[in-house]
Structures are given as C-alpha cells and as structure tokens.
Amino acid sequence: MDLRLNLQNAVIKYEEKIIIDGVSITAGPGEMIFITGANGSGKSTLIKTIAGLLPLASGKIERAKKISYVPQVEEADRNFPARVKEIVMTGRQRPGKLFYTQRDKELVRDSMRELEIEDLSEHELKILSGGQLRRVMLARALCGLPDLLLLDEPCAGLDVESHKILFEALKKNLARGCAILMVTHDDSDLAGITSSRVINISNGRIL
C-alpha cells in the first residue's frame, strides 16, 4: 500500500521549546484521521509541519506529492483585491506549472459547485462572511485533487448546512483515495465519518 503520509518520531520545536515530541502517524489512501486535543497541545503545529510550513527538529517525514492544506485562519488580508474564483484557482497551482488549463477551470467549477459557492464566483473576498470564506478555502483545497488533505479546524464558523456539505465532499475525496487529516475541537465532527481514526494529542505527545 502506498502511504500518503509516513511521519516517524517527529520532534518539532519553536524557539527551542519542544512543541511536538516523538509523534508518529501513517495514513494510507482513503484513510480519515481526526487529530484532537486541548488548546496549545500542538495540533496546529503538527499539521503545519506536515504541510511543509515548519521544519522538523528531528524525525522523518514522507508525504504524497499532491497536498492541499486548509489553515485554521487564512493568512491573507481580507481586503486583498481578489475575486472568489481567482482564489479557488490557486488550488490548481503546482511546482513547475505556470499556466492554468481548461481542465483546471473545470475542476475549479466542479469544486465550487460541490461546496455550493458558485454564486459567489465573481464576488470580492472582502464582502464574504466568515463561513463563506471557509467554504472558499475548502473549494481551493479540493479542486487540487490532493492525495493528502490537511484540514485545521475546517468546521469553525460553518453552519449546519455547510457542515453537511463539507462532509459530503470529504467522503467523495476519501472514496477516490485521498487521505485526510483533520484537526478538530468538536466531537460532533468525529461522527461525520464513521470509519476513521482519532489521534489525541496532549502536551505534544500522542495519548
């Protein structure tokens, strides 16, 4: 079985302080893993490291090539002059590829339809609500057809209907072989996908 993620004995430090201490996680195709834990336990640091945004102090990591990451909070300024469609399209960018293709446009359209944000396509980012922005970020991640999808509290700010739409989309991605790691605080998320694993992090270690 081709692993989508193979993380072994990961140690992650922030300014010499150990945040994650010896964590190992493997994820195969179609596998759903929830990462839970109290505030400050190191969940977001762990997922950022898997996304390639933070370095490992020690340990080993092997990842699928096609990764999509949905951060807990979008880094960009809400007043950034961009339309929803332009933001979602960035999910189709990959190293070595400079121009969008017709297929990219179709996948973006499909992804926006799946998350029911088609009507927002030409809207500017600054007029979106928090929940709408989150759906845009999810559409951007899903249109990349990732082999490994990393979600940091994707349900924060979503209403019941949006929550349902998200989980339907995640199930489709699991079915096509995508492995998903989702950081969550909300136990009700765990019921969203029954055949899943739960990893509980406390003080940087797996309980």
């Binding site: 990451y69 332009e86 960035t90």
Partner: protein, 266 residues
C-alpha cells in the same frame, strides 16, 4: 507644449519615463499588497550610494548600482519575511546608512554633478543608452509579469499556501526583488533617488481605490502611472521644476482627486 516633442532629449525622457513608470506601478501593486511599500525608498538610497561610488571610481553607474540594489532588495525582502516586524527597521537602517555613505563619497571625491542629478532626477540626463536600457528593462518586467502572473498572484495573496503546494516561494521572491531593483536603478535617472519610491507606490494606492480584482488593479495602476508621468513631465517643463517632483506631484494630485470623488459618491 507640443513643440517640446521635437527635442530628442524630451522624446527620450518621454519614452523611457513612460515605460519605467508603467513597469514600476505594475510591480508596485505587489509591493503595496505585500506591505513592502518602503522598499523602493530604501533601494533608491542604496542606488545613490552605489552611484556615488561609481562616480568616484569613474566607472559606469549601472555596473555598481544594478548588482548592489538587487542584492539589497533581496536582503530587505528576506529580512521582512523572516522577521515580520524587522522589515521597516531593515529598510530604515539600510536607506539612511546608504544615503550617508553616498553623501560622504560625493563630498570627499570630485563631487560630480552626476550624483546630484541622480538625487533629484533630470530629464536632460536620459541618454541613448538609458533609453535602450529602459526599453529592454520594460520588456523584461512586463514579460516576467505575464509569464509569472498566476504565481505572483498566489505569492502575493498567501506565501504560506504557496509553500504548502510545494512552490519555491524564495525563487519568486528573488524574481520580484530583481525586477524591483532594475526598475529602481533605471527610474532613478529621471525621477531621482529621493522620489522613485513614489512612482512605485502612489499609482498602486490610487488604483486600489478604483479597481475590483487583482488583474484590474495591476492594469489600472500602470495606466494611472502613465498618465501621471506624462502630466508630471508637462508640469515640470511648464514650471521649470525637476521632472521627479512634477511626476510625484501629478500622482499625488490624482490620488487626492480619486479619494475625494470616492467620498462624494459614497
């Protein structure tokens, strides 16, 4: 006023200045959105120091100015990105130290009039060589902007997201640094080192009040800059003031008018 166009130096200044202004404003959009607004100012001071050294050593200005401004641009952007709050400090230190160095060298050496024309800008200073340099530079900047447009958009919007996709953000940072440095070095001739940052930043800010979406912002910024440059050059001829001051004056006036109009519409 149209009679002026028959003079070769005016033709050179108009063509070179229009091209550089357009390119500067296009790049200015990225710099403003990435909160690197002061970088043009910092780089122009470093350019001034380089020009003073070149003048003292009696070698062509661009030979020293181009590599040193490119290097400084990359260092400032790297420091700004790595140590989020230190970017403005890095620019302040680099620009004041470079300006002091430039003045010291100019004072000690044979204080050439060339360095003072770089400080305040001069349309008379635009040579045939400068014109060719401006045309080539503009083709490079606009070509790079078209080829890397989608990448520049992504990097400007969110570097973290770009990195999570496996994109080498440092490479694109370097490309933006080089393009910015080239624009600064070539623009210093006309507007002067003290005012080139305004040519980079002001049109992007003006366009930001009018445009909707990134692409329209980029195009509008370039057009605003072009209009402001031509108007500024005419003002400078009409009132016999340095071109750089005329161009920045026109840019500032357009910005104020746009802001007032927007307030009235609201």
């Amino acid at each position: 006023m149209l009679e002026l166009l028959k003079y070769p130096f005016v033709q050179r200044a108009l063509i070179a200045g229009s091209l550089i202004s357009f390119c500067a404003a296009v790049l200015g959009v990225i710099l403003v959105l990435k909160h690197y607004s002061l970088i043009g100012h910092g780089l122009s001071e470093i350019g001034f120091a380089s020009l003073s050294i070149a003048s003292a050593l009696n070698i062509p200005a661009v030979v020293i100015a181009t590599p040193s401004v490119i290097a400084a641009s990359f260092v400032i952007m790297f420091v700004s990105q790595r140590y989020k709050t230190a970017g403005d400090i890095a620019i302040a230190i680099a620009s004041s130290a470079a300006l002091a160095l430039g003045i010291i060298i100019s004072s000690l050496g044979s204080a050439s009039s060339g360095t003072s024309s770089y400080l305040f800008g001069s349309v008379l200073a635009v040579s045939e060589g400068d014109l060719i340099f401006s045309v080539v530079l503009s083709l490079i900047v606009l070509g790079a902007f078209i080829i890397f447009y989608d990448r520049f958009f992504l990097i400007t919007y969110s570097e973290d997201y770009a990195r999570s996709l496996g994109i080498n953000t440092a490479l694109y940072q370097l490309i933006i640094s080089i393009l910015t440095a080239l624009v600064v070095v070539s623009g210093m001739r006309i507007t002067g080192t003290l005012l080139i940052s305004g040519v980079i930043i002001l049109p992007a800010v003006t366009a930001g009040s009018l445009a909707s979406g990134f692409k329209s912002l980029v195009i509008l910024s370039g057009l605003v800059s072009l209009i402001a440059f031509i108007a500024g050059l005419m003002i400078s001829f009409a009132f016999n003031i340095p071109a750089g001051a005329g161009v920045i004056g026109a840019n500032t006036l357009i910005l104020i008018l746009v802001k007032i109009l927007k307030l009235k519409i609201k």
